[in-house]
Assembly symmetry: C2
Homo-oligomer: 153 residues x 2
DNA sequence: TATTGTTATACTCTATAACTATA
DNA sequence: TATAGTTATAGAGTATAACAATA
């Protein structure tokens, strides 16, 4: 038998009580989507997007990541990494450096300008995160971060 | 002064100890990306993607969502909803129904076939979620879900 | 005048294959 | 023979504007 359809009884969060709204896949997608559009809005003023920010942040970590490593870590195609680094390099924020132990690969390092840009970008991203997670207490944010780390690696 | 660059000391999770890897925006993006590609892999066998699954799930909730509501809730453009529903409708999984209270909008309802498809798809998604969150205990998964709900709405 | 669904279109993002230089 | 980076290109996803029907 076919259940009678409740004819759209208006109300803000009607669909938020649905089964889908309890599923981690959906919740992560939605939270990620909202979070990165928040961050992108802020980063736009610096002429950056989250992807550029991510590469810049990893360059500034002084781990000397290769493009291949950036590709794997950010789950972006190697050819996309090329484009992102081209833009950051033209802008004078990072440089491609020869890897002494494998001349095929290139290590991405920040310029002094890149470090300054990163510092400003990080503030913007932190502020966006603040807005995204406004409903959570500091302890809850830490717990969320901890659990996400377990899920993401 | 310029810090000396650690010349890529290999090792699996080098970049996972970086500052970026502690930021919620990044972690959510990465977890969401991995989660939905897991789900998409499984749903492919049913000829579905997460977006179709999501619409189908909401249709099966018997909340009688309008396309506009689906658009807002799934953070997808109204024109994308049109395409998704076209496909689900051609496939006989959902139908567009007139909204008695506003003849501009259309309520999306599942067919019996749509409900069966959803049942199978849900199993697939649950299995994918299981794999994605394998590192978390049941209690941790519940806590993650709870915190994500707070962040996502 | 504003809104829902629709269409068409452009834009961005992502994925694939082929090439080079190294290993 | 395999891998890192690069390039070109095609495919998927997203955003924008305009239109008809209805509010």
């Amino acid at each position: 038998m076919t259940a009678r359809i409740a004819p759209a009884e208006a109300g803000p969060g009607r669909l938020a009580q649905t089964g889908l709204a309890q599923e981690p896949v959906f919740l992560m997608a939605r939270a990620a989507s909202m979070g990165s559009s928040q961050a992108n809005r802020g980063l736009g003023d610096l002429g950056l997007k989250v992807r550029h920010y991510s590469v810049l942040a990893l360059a500034c970590s002084d781990e000397g990541p290769t493009q291949r490593e950036l590709s794997a870590f950010l789950v972006l195609d190697p050819s996309q990494i090329v484009a992102i680094i081209d833009e950051l390099e033209e802008r004078g924020a990072v440089q491609r450096q020869a890897d002494p132990r494998d001349r095929r690969s290139k290590i991405i390092v920040p310029t002094p300008e890149g470090r300054m840009l990163y510092a400003r970008a990080k503030e913007v991203v932190d502020a966006a995160t603040e807005r995204s997670l406004a409903a959570l207490s500091p302890a809850q944010r830490e717990e969320l971060t901890r659990l996400l780390r377990m899920a993401a690696f």
